[in-house]
């Protein structure tokens, strides 16, 4: 009978420990969820920001044309201006 009561007390103690640990796990899981949602929103915003990356193609073309014009202009200057002594 004594062992039975000791067993019950031990079981209750184990129950309390398990409940405590599960409470901690649940709290950690709940704290992760807002962070994950925030990360998802940030990733979505970053993805939208990169929509402008397509304009880099236009920039590339403009730069090529500008450098070509500058090269032509420099070539003309090279012809009409004498070199430094």
């Amino acid at each position: 009978m004594t062992l039975w009561w000791i067993g019950n007390v031990a079981l209750f103690a184990v129950f309390l420990v398990v409940v405590y640990l599960l409470h901690g796990v649940l709290g950690a899981a709940r704290s992760i969820v807002p962070s994950v949602e925030q990360i998802a929103k940030t990733a979505e915003a970053g993805s939208k920001d990169l929509d402008a990356a397509e304009l880099l193609v236009t920039t590339q073309n403009q730069v090529e044309q500008t450098i070509a014009v500058a090269a032509n202009y420099g070539g003309s200057l090279d012809v009409i201006i004498d070199d430094a002594p």
Partner: protein
Amino acid sequence: MTLIAVALIVAALVVYLVAVIVQLWKITNGLDEVIEHVGEIVQKSEPVEAIVTSINGQLDAGVDLLEGLLVKKAGLVDAVGLVEGLYPGSAAAGFRNFPESTTIRAPRIGTVYTKGTLTLARLGRESPIAAGNPAGPALRDVERGSLSARLLYPEGRQSRPERMPRSPIIGTDAPVLYQPSEQRGGTTPDAGEIQEKGPWSEVAAEGIVPAEEGGSDAPREMLAEDPQLGSEVLGETTGSMESDIDPAAGDRADATTDAGPEVPEGAEPDLKDAPHEADRP
């Protein structure tokens, strides 16, 4: 009793475990969303490196081109000075393709001259673009207009002192300004002239009515409608103080063409004194 206790324990464990499972399920869904957006980011940024590398290559080529052209045409020292004049402090960085440019002390081209003067001076001096019409005269006198070109170089390379004493009466900001009244009938006598001619030479200044009291050089609204003594009687100032006399005109003068009397067109040169030039001491 025991069974009830066990049932309560199991029920409590189930509640907690289910709550944890729900939270993990939310985390999984959130991470799925994150992975989806990260995938988009990877996809969209994939060609960026190649494009930016290409743009940088083009800009590098442009910088090399312009730097090389500037150094080739202006010389390394003048090029550094020109860049320093346009972007103060940039001379310390030097030119990318000319490491020795970082050790050059930049001349103060941009401080003394306006932007583009260097190029314009070179164009005017040596380039065919200086002529508006190939058949017409040059826009800039390449033979006598040497002042601008000389000023492009430090003072040590010029043949005249940096600051020559200025004429005391020429120009509106001359060191000494005389009233037009004092110029009538000749120059104002200085101390040497007074000593030479005597004190009577000072009297002339005392007998002239100053302009603020209605003298002959007063503003027109202060004078009578028909003054008895006009400029043809009083003499007339040459206007050297009112007009803008170009102090650099002398630098552009040429003794071979600007000096001497006005000779009629087609006249023979007067050379009668030429044989005696050798007799001069």
